[in-house]
Symmetry: C2
Subunit: 327 residues, 2 copies
Amino acid sequence: MKPNIKDVATLAGVSATTVSRVLNNRGYISEETRNKVYQAMEELHYFPNDVARSLFRKSTKFIGLIFPTTSHPFFGELILNIERICSTRGYKVLLCNSLNDQEKESEYLEMLQRNQVDGIIVGTHNQGTLNYEKIRFPVVAIDRYLSDSIPVVSSDNYQGGKIAAELLLESGCKKIIHICGPQQLKTPANQRTNAFKDVMKNHGIEPVIYELPVNFQQPSTIRMIHKIFDEHQDIDGIFASDDLIAASILAEAYGIGRKIPDDLKVIGYDGTETVQICLPHLTTIRQPIKQIAEKSVSMLIDLIEGKQFERQYEETIPVSIKKGTTV
Amino acid sequence: MKPNIKDVATLAGVSATTVSRVLNNRGYISEETRNKVYQAMEELHYFPNDVARSLFRKSTKFIGLIFPTTSHPFFGELILNIERICSTRGYKVLLCNSLNDQEKESEYLEMLQRNQVDGIIVGTHNQGTLNYEKIRFPVVAIDRYLSDSIPVVSSDNYQGGKIAAELLLESGCKKIIHICGPQQLKTPANQRTNAFKDVMKNHGIEPVIYELPVNFQQPSTIRMIHKIFDEHQDIDGIFASDDLIAASILAEAYGIGRKIPDDLKVIGYDGTETVQICLPHLTTIRQPIKQIAEKSVSMLIDLIEGKQFERQYEETIPVSIKKGTTV
DNA sequence: ATGAAAGCGCTAACAA
DNA sequence: TTGTTAGCGCTTTCAT
């Protein structure tokens, strides 16, 4: 059904080797032969079989992507950028949504190995540690410490947390609360919380922190927000380590009649386009998504192609603040 | 470096065939041999090479996904669901973000063919028509008419448009405007606009419709909203055919001091989780994303596996309304 | 300038 | 119960 290189060769009246030469532009081929081959390929709607090529070349030009979910705006944008850059550089993307489930991540990891990907980019958060050490091809992590030998790309989380905390203080907040993700996960994102603590302590304030459970969903976020409003009537500032959490805070605050930013100031984290379209007034720390994508892809491809590069095992990219009217 | 089946065979003291038999659980193998093989695989950290298997089996178990972008919440959620279902059913996903660019779509299409995907799911919108006819494996489209022989899965767009238009009328709107995507694209989504027109005409009202350009971005959306507020001071209802457009309308209305829903009622389309978290009060037509994903994947796999099924070439799934407080 | 043969890693006849 | 052989579609020596 699908024509192969031999079909093309037969139709063009040459050998498969010659067709291969035309395909790869290698060695000497007469113009005449070349044209005959092109014509035959055209006529048969021939496409070279990359499976066979990959087998021979021992390189698939596949890059595996393991992320929690494309449905979260941060990952959706990040994955868009990563995939586009890969495509431009001749790599194809195998997508894996781990949903932060350890078992799924492990299955995906095996699948990617079986499929001979040239490398993978991981951005999931799990409690346990999988065998990323034993993997026989390059791995780059985004916002996650996997092992000593696996490079990590992340934005400057400490700086982000610091900017947020200081902005709230400068804006006159007296009682600030920070909502963060699970701290037991080994991720540079914990630096946001560390920065918050440091800033508070430097100002002689005991930091108040609420930590979400591993794999929190919308309901637990809402419950936590209720709890916070309940336990701290005098709260006047919240730093959420994710825009969607910030969004929920705004909604809940609105529900109980707190005026933003007069009664309560809110600052989020990520600064994705989607959330900015939905909530253009949200003040947030903007992650440099495009640069994170560029850096991680170029690091990975450098590793794959064996480029000599000073192995910098932690790449930190500056964040910026997007001032809205919620602070 | 990477061990192959022969390395395993040698270590286990058997032939490659025997290892293959163990791997595939075929034929008779003595318990003893089986254990030796398992042990050897373990020792070498052996994973079967799926590239070689695919070449032999003439099936890759790859499904290609061509969508505009994972960064849009609707596609982000849709792609999450599609990928998860594929994974459960033993298929792997090659992700392509076409950005609605015809040339990119064409390149991706060729890439997928070269990589011998077993099938593809397409959800992009382009003006021109690519050669989906000539493709030699199954294709399923979501919200797009590609050719007579390619099945289309979509939600009940006409119903969605009807519900939205009628709700605005019932709520007392006198001057309703509809913002829609480019109508020249051949997509079932145009039914939303047709329904709007029909409902308005049935009520003796001349429908007012603003059409966004092909590949509209946020700036052109904002410009169009300004234009609408400018040209129609008496507007009291808007039906936007996308939640992100609705979100921008809310923001702009807020900016010029129009009270929602008293001065202006707004209804969106899609009902994604992300937008619902950001704007829980938004009234919107909710697309059954999960079912769309299930239907398109199962149709595609049925086609791939040659299941006899009554070829229903247009699958329409009911929508529902999510009532918020913007109407 | 072109072709024949071997091999990438795997599986399925066919033999034994 | 196990092994030998051929072949999936391609590319690359090595000949000619």
